[in-house]
Subunit: 360 residues, 2 copies
């Protein structure tokens, strides 16, 4: 299994990546909405370019540092889905605007006022709405409409739309619950925009949709944009939610068994410093591809400690390789400077995780 690579290593199945990109692009096209994928999952300009070539209309970044990396690669339509605060970032944002169209999301007049003081053409902003995750934003309806009116009155910014992340969808227990959360995500924003219109503020963007909800939310009348990220790689969290399979899980950590202390235990050379701690303790949060009898017990920083089902206690001798599927692909990828692209079971390219760690 990839003998040219030492372990642990991040391998990206580019065949699966292409299929994942196409599937989401088709879902967006079918509903006539813009797909603006979040690049926080892969952090690689090459893959952002593949998404754009397949029909994406711009990209989403969380942090300014990610946006700068993508702009360096020539990407010129970026939604910065994070409130910008402070002079150093505002200076960098002003420079970024010189070479790309950049919109920003925010949820406060304070952040809007900072952007408004930049000068130049008005900064296009989307107001973040709390559709149930309880992170940023006010609830839909009147609380958000009032905030939109307040921000719209600030010189130098133009409120172009509403944005939400239905992060609570990750906790959905059934497909029905997931679909319902997605529908609400879209409908709540559309209804709020109608309220804003009655207040005299016409909003032209309704931006919703994470990987679990995007395919549903895209179908809500009035939604203009979906921003899924994880779909390009998927992970066990997406598998658990029923929106991915082992075959579409494209990012894996190639690892080696370095200890078999007792027959029922195998220890891999990859722990949280490869796979991250996200999802720890959730049953099946780390899976060994093609090895359903391997059950991860716990991770230390450099060890993955797995239990083997009865009947497999002679399997996986020291030196055996396996591919571990992370619980959260975005977090796992952020642990690596370099990934290896594989196609047809062979390593075909090296991919730099160019925006890894770009948290500022």
């Amino acid at each position: 299994m990839y003998p040219e690579l030492d372990t642990p290593a991040l391998v990206i199945d580019l065949d699966a990546v292409r299929a994942n990109i196409d599937e989401m692009a088709e879902a967006a096209a079918r509903h006539g909405v813009r797909l603006r994928p979040h690049i926080k999952t892969h952090k690689m300009p090459e893959l952002a370019r593949m998404q754009l070539d397949a029909g994406a209309g711009g990209i989403t970044c969380a942090k300014l540092g990610e946006a700068e990396v993508m702009a360096d690669a020539g990407i010129d339509d970026i939604l910065l889905a994070f409130p910008l605060w402070g002079e150093p970032k505002l200076r960098r944002f002003a420079a970024l605007r010189e070479r790309a169209r950049v919109r920003v999301s925010l949820d406060s007049p304070e952040v809007a006022a900072g952007l408004g003081r930049l000068g130049g053409p008005p900064v296009e902003v989307l107001v973040e709405v709390d559709t149930g995750q309880h992170r940023l934003g006010r609830p839909p309806g009147r609380p958000t409409a009032d905030l939109v009116a307040e921000i719209a009155a600030i010189p130098g910014v133009e409120v172009v739309g509403l944005l939400t992340l239905a992060g609570h969808a990750y906790h959905a227990r059934t497909a029905t619950e997931l679909a319902e959360t997605a529908r609400r995500e879209g409908e709540d924003l559309v209804a709020t925009a109608e309220l804003c219109a009655r207040d005299g503020i016409e909003l032209r963007e309704i931006s919703v949709g994470s990987t679990p909800t995007a395919r549903h939310a895209a179908g809500v009348a009035g939604v203009t944009e979906i921003r899924p990220g994880t779909y390009i790689f998927n992970d066990t969290a997406m598998m658990r939610l029923g929106v991915a399979t082992e075959e579409t899980a494209a990012a894996r950590v190639l690892t080696t068994v370095i200890g078999r202390p007792i027959p029922e235990r195998a220890v891999f050379d990859a722990g949280t410093k490869c796979l991250a701690s996200d999802g720890t303790g959730t049953p099946g949060w780390i899976r060994a591809a093609g090895l359903p009898y391997v059950h991860m017990d716990f991770l230390n920083e450099e060890h993955g400690v797995a239990l083997l089902e009865a009947g497999h206690h002679d399997d996986l001798p020291v030196g055996t390789r396996a591919q571990l599927i992370p619980s959260h692909a975005c977090a796992a990828v952020n642990n690596f400077d370099l990934a290896y692209g594989v196609e047809g079971g062979r390593v075909t390219t090296e991919l730099r995780v160019a925006a890894r760690g770009a948290v500022r």
Copy 2:
């Protein structure tokens, strides 16, 4: 608060670091054992040098890549506490041995045989023992003594001692339970070494002790070496175990409030990509230094979402800075390429996290 730094940023209180280094060095000296600190916490040659200058007798690394970074900085006495497997790593290990004294821990004849085939002077190995964490190693007593005999018979390796990590100590609920775990950690290995001696194999190293247990385990007769790592920075996990305080928590993430969507909620610009997901859900797993009324609710990748106690709903306006203490310092540090050393409340130096991500 550190206006010269943009946020989020990793700040290291070097005054606290010096005190932490001295305190553990004194504990080791008092008991006459070697302190061989694990550098996985800081990953910085400068801090390893400070530990050595304060009396440490060599360092511990997990991965070969970490050891290479430390050897590049001139550190020449290294315990590699991880089984080495595969030709690429064995070649690198052979090169590393040319410039440093390197011991390796392992728990299998397979790994020992690989090392034994290297040639040159015998490779000094420590056999890992499972004192209750159930990761690598066999249980103490006869199972380990038999393994030691098997490995000692392999040409090219010399078994010099026993090693364990009492990782289960992290789950201790009381100081008494912690002390008892530490005592057992030491005594189990000493008793096993006596069994080996009766088998005709004299072992000269008994290597134990993580940060929670090191001060206790150092006092067990027969223990020769302790390997704590986290003590240099500490974290909320160490605070919860009663072996650290907010004052000795030296690694913090400097962050800014970027949203105050409702009076009881403040959102920081640092999430799991700064603080890691380790400890998620444990009460108080992330603490805001000096702000006891701030209770972290959840982290996303780039957001830290906190709830504020009644009476503080007007505090922390957008733009306020705070220092967040991570649950697991080692994991948080691994998210950053650069840290800022602070002394007396001022930034005095930049520290490169030179061995960040060195998982191979």
